[in-house]
């Protein structure tokens, strides 16, 4: 709590500050309130309110995130996301029907079950995931603005799918080792086709680096009984952020995170205790603590002119139909 108060006191923006950081002002108590209200309305409406609840949640989180004295804004609406929600409902229904239809077969004949499982898996990995990742990103990006300037995504699904299938194939053939390259190249594709007005985003991470980070992280977390996990998470975050660049057309600069293993450990350890002793009810508070830790650690290049970013024509297109893909909350790990 103390931490939150201190942050609000220092909300004043210092104009000549050399170093610039992203700042997150979310509060556990407000977040908790929103989640409760969302929960009540979702239950009372038998689940139909869910997309609106999601919109409220995102509006809150976006609006508590500040860059250069101005907040981000999420313009997506529950009405838009409702379509995607109905589709995801349909998929879940399909999954359960398939599951129950095969359950009796399974016990007599396990092969049938494996066939059903494989068909479902193939559909998920080859069709559903790339679709949801691509269009979900496109939707979220196109509904986000800062100082009235909209983010916008210029990728096309065909070239994304080609890239995705290539690395998915490598991942499957290498029994999962290639997943680091899949993940890195997915981020590379999405970021390099994303811009905030005239400001361009890019990502220069290498799959090999991620692979080594992950390998070391898994190994050390395992032998230290999980105590290395906070450092592992820190390393992953460093990989994602420090290889992300922004460019205003003249200069290209990398973002930087100052997150330390100690900070990561402190927040994760307290979160863990909070969750255990509150029987999970402290979830909103732990979530906000994590967001605050991660977002506040991101330093943005100070020699980019944030006051002269130009809106791109056609950045904001209401009738794209991408909202249908914003389903199942597939959150990428970056």
């Amino acid at each position: 709590m103390e931490e939150i108060l201190n942050q609000n006191e220092s909300v004043e923006f210092a104009p000549n500050q050399e170093r610039k950081f992203i700042r997150f002002f979310g509060k556990g108590s407000s977040f908790f309130g929103i989640l409760i209200l969302n929960f009540i309305l979702t239950v009372v409406s038998l689940g139909l309110y869910y997309p609106w609840a999601k919109a409220k949640l995102r509006q809150y989180l976006w609006n508590e995130t500040e860059l250069e004295g101005s907040r981000f804004c999420f313009h997506g609406t529950g009405k838009e996301m409702f379509k995607g929600f109905i589709i995801s409902y349909f998929f879940i229904l399909l999954f359960y029907i398939g599951y129950f239809a095969s359950i009796s077969q399974t016990m007599e004949n396990p092969i049938v079950f494996f066939v059903v499982l494989i068909v479902f898996f193939v559909f998920l990995v080859f069709g559903f995931y790339p679709f949801a990742i691509f269009f979900g990103w496109k939707y979220r990006v196109s509904r986000t603005s800062w100082r009235g300037i909209f983010f916008h995504f210029t990728g096309d699904f065909k070239s994304f799918y080609k890239m995705y299938i290539k690395y998915l194939g490598i991942t499957i053939l290498s029994f999962g080792i290639g997943s680091s390259w899949l993940s890195t190249n997915t981020q590379k594709y999405l970021f390099s086709h994303t811009q905030l007005g005239s400001l361009k985003l890019d990502f220069h991470g290498d799959g090999g680096d991620l692979f080594i980070t992950r390998l070391g992280g898994f190994f050390l977390s395992y032998i230290t009984l999980g105590f290395y996990l906070p450092v592992f998470i820190k390393n992953l975050f460093h990989f994602r952020i420090n290889h992300t660049t922004i460019s205003d057309g003249k200069i290209q600069r990398a973002l930087k995170t100052e997150l330390t293993g100690k900070q990561s450990f402190n927040v994760l350890f307290v979160n863990f205790l909070l969750l255990i002793f509150s029987l999970g009810l402290a979830f909103p508070f732990t979530q906000i603590r994590s967001y605050r830790l991660l977002l506040n650690s991101i330093e943005i290049p100070s020699d980019i002119d944030y006051d002269h970013i130009d809106q791109q024509p056609g950045a904001y297109n209401k009738a794209t139909g991408d909202e249908m893909a914003d389903i199942l909350d597939i959150d990428l790990d970056f």
Partner: protein, 378 residues
């Protein structure tokens, strides 16, 4: 940028412009001021917004209030809400009741709000786990077609047969005994006699009834066997095992249907709670079957007290099995599938006395029973 000023953004570039405002009836007039030298001169850049078309977004403690106007490009102004309460009030009024409730939550919540929230969550979770999810589970399980239920039964019987070898001769005799009683409606009875010391009998979905040698040893009169089978038949007729499966999956099913999400620690907690709940529902099913069994005995012209005799035997077995520690565990009725045998017997005794049954002798059942009691020749 100074946090106490109003800034205007035209939606074309990210350049902030210092601004002043005036509220004129249903319109917001925004003047751009240069170097803070605001004079009401006519050559000031002026933007007029129709208040009803504005959207506003507020942050914690009203530190940052943002108002948007227009479709694309979207213009916006930002200011510190606590310094311009008249603007905040104006836009809060414009919001519907629900949206202003959200805004109030964003502005700040008090301790008791959180307490009320926690109570609401706990109460609704309890209602959900105790009543809603079992109810939905039972209703859903009734939608399962009969042939599927029979297959499911086959599979569970295959599992049960691990306890011991199936005695096919006695299984046939048991089937004849059951056909004589005609207790199971709607299903083809499949009887299994398993050579195992387990003192139990059970009913699997789709009309499968399994009797273990261990319980047969305890029974000393044919009417007790009738009582046992009537109890199991009641499970079959009321689809108890299917309902039980339905109840155990429905908690997840509903939650994932509502949120499209099944992961997380809440899932584990839910499972634990549902498990505990499952037991008390299972007791309800047992009590129901007991009561149906004495009614069946009554209908067949058999003494309902056979049921109590059977339970007495089971209780004696329980006492034999358990040492002191185990007994005290057994007394914890809530944690047991079957209601405590003593309670069961008392409950049934009062019910059976009201029936005033005139008991008759059934020679055919008695002879079939004696066949079953004969030692197997191996």
């Amino acid at each position: 940028m100074n946090s106490s000023s109003i800034y205007y953004f035209d939606g074309k570039t990210s350049a902030p412009k210092s601004a002043k405002f005036e509220i004129k009836r249903d319109e917001l007039w925004i003047y751009i001021v240069n170097n803070d030298n605001f004079t009401e001169e006519k050559d000031n850049e002026l933007y007029v917004w129709d208040i009803k078309d504005c959207e506003s977004e507020s942050s914690n403690s009203q530190q940052r209030y943002t108002v948007y106007y227009g479709d694309f490009p979207k213009q916006q102004i930002q200011f510190n809400g606590s310094e311009y309460p008249e603007l905040v009030a104006l836009f809060l009024r414009k919001k519907g009741r629900l949206n202003s409730l959200y805004t109030k939550i964003v502005h700040g919540t008090r301790g008791w709000h959180i307490l009320v929230g926690v109570i609401i969550i706990l109460c609704s979770s309890w209602l959900y786990i105790r009543y809603l999810s079992p109810w939905v589970g039972e209703k859903l399980s009734l939608l399962v077609p009969k042939h599927l239920e029979e297959r499911l039964g086959n599979a569970s019987v295959n599992g049960i047969l691990n306890f011991g070898p199936l005695d096919s001769l006695k299984s046939n005799q048991l089937k004849l005994f059951m056909d004589e009683l005609n207790l199971v409606k709607d299903y083809d009875v499949k009887a299994y006699y398993v050579n195992s010391e387990v003192v139990n009998a059970l009913a699997a979905p789709g009309g499968h009834i399994v009797v273990f040698d261990g319980i047969m040893e305890k029974i000393d009169c044919y009417d007790q066997l009738v009582a046992l089978l009537a109890h199991e038949a009641a499970h079959v007729n009321n689809r108890h095992s299917l309902k039980s499966i339905g109840r155990s999956v429905s908690a997840y099913l509903i939650l994932s249907a509502i949120t499209g999400d099944v992961a997380g620690s809440s899932g584990v907690l839910l499972e634990q709670a549902a498990q505990l709940n499952q037991l008390s529902y299972a007791r309800k099913d047992e009590t129901q079957s007991d009561e149906i069994a004495i009614l069946e005995l009554h209908k067949l012209g058999l003494d309902p007290s056979a049921m109590m005799n059977l339970l007495d035997k089971l209780e004696q077995q329980e006492k034999l099995d358990s040492n002191l520690v185990l007994t005290s565990l057994n007394e914890m009725e809530f944690l047991k599938t079957h209601p405590i045998t003593k309670n069961r017997i008392e409950n049934l005794r009062s019910k059976s006395e009201r029936l005033n049954t005139v008991a008759e002798y059934h020679p055919k059942l008695d002879s079939l029973y004696h066949l079953l009691k004969m030692k197997s020749i191996y």
